[in-house]
Symmetry: C2
Subunit: 142 residues, 2 copies
DNA sequence: TCCTATTAGATTGTATACAATCTAATAGTA
DNA sequence: TACTATTAGATTGTATACAATCTAATAGGA
C-alpha cells in the first residue's frame, strides 16, 4: 500500500540527502584552503564579479545577511577580501577581493574537475540532473 | 568560454539550493505542529517503525548522534517520544513514540499531498527527479 | 578471567541557515 | 523641507550539521 508519509517516498528527503552528500565530497578539497563550502560559493561569485554588495551576493546565493555577514567577516579575517563601505550609499558594503583572494582562485581551479572525478556519476547524468534541478528552482522561486 | 569555476555550472549548488527551497516549502505546514523539517523526518521514520535506537535512526537519516541527540531531546520535551535505556544493552537508547507522538501522525497525514500541491512541478517530473537523486545517493555512499 | 578494542550515545566547538528585530541611511512625498 | 516608508546590513536567538572527543558498556580474545 502506498503511504505518502513514508520517508522513502518523499522527494524532499532525496534532495536534502543528495545535497549533504555532495557537499561532503567538497570537504577534502576545501580543507587545504581552509574554507567551507558556503565560503567557497561566495568566492565563486566574487571570482566571477568582484566588488559586489552583500545584497547582490545574497541574491546570487539566495542567502540573507544573517548568514552572509558573519561568513564574510570570517573570509575577511582570513585576508581573502575586504568589506568597504560604499561612498555613494553608505548603507551598502562593497565586498572586494584582496590579492590573496584573487590568488586563491588559481589554487581552487581544479576543484570542479576533482569533484566530478570523485563522484560516481556519468557526466551526461550529472548534466541532466542539474538541468532538472535548475528547472525546479526556476519554477519555485522566493 | 566554459569556466568550471562558475557557480551556475556546478551541480552541487543546484542541489544545495533545491534542498533549501523545498525544505522552506514545508515550513508553513510544520509550523502549526511546532516541529522543524529535521524533526519531521525523524518522526516519519518512527511512524514507520517505532522503538528504534539512535543508531538505527541515524543510519536511516544519515545523521550522527551529534545532530540527533539534541533533536530527539527536543521532541521528548514536547512530549512526542520517550528515550528509554535498553535493558539488554545499556549503551543503547530506544526511542519510543508517546500517545501524543502517535496522534501527531494523523495531524501530519496531509502534508505530503499539500507539498506536492504547493510545488510547481509535474508529478512525473518529481518522480523522475527523485529516481535520479536516489540513484546518485546510492552510488555515492558514506 | 583479564585486558584491549569496539561500540552507542553524549558532549563540545565551529559554521551555517533563517526568522525576527534593530539601526542608520536613503527615497519618496506632502 | 519635514515626515514617513523603505532599504542595506548587522544582530540576536534557535535549530541544525558535523568533526572530534569523551564515557560507559559490551565484545573478543589471550
Amino acid at each position: 500500500m502506498f503511504d505518502p508519509l513514508k520517508l522513502d517516498v518523499q522527494l524532499c528527503f532525496s534532495l536534502y540527502t543528495s545535497a549533504r552528500t555532495i557537499i561532503r565530497k567538497y570537504k577534502p578539497f576545501l580543507d587545504p584552503l581552509n574554507i567551507t563550502y558556503t565560503q567557497y560559493i561566495c568566492l565563486l561569485v566574487l571570482w566571477e564579479k568582484d566588488m559586489i554588495s552583500v545584497k547582490e551576493l545574497g541574491e546570487r546565493l539566495m542567502l540573507d545577511s544573517g548568514t552572509l555577514t558573519p561568513l564574510i567577516k570570517k573570509l575577511e579575517k582570513q585576508g581573502y577580501l575586504k568589506r568597504v563601505r560604499s561612498q555613494s550609499d553608505e548603507r551598502m558594503i562593497s565586498i572586494e577581493l584582496t590579492e590573496l583572494g584573487i590568488e586563491l582562485k588559481e589554487k581552487a581551479k581544479d576543484i570542479p574537475e576533482s569533484i566530478v572525478q570523485s563522484l560516481n556519476i556519468e557526466i551526461s547524468d550529472a548534466i541532466e540532473l542539474k538541468n532538472r534541478l535548475d528547472d525546479f528552482i526556476r519554477k519555485n522561486p522566493e
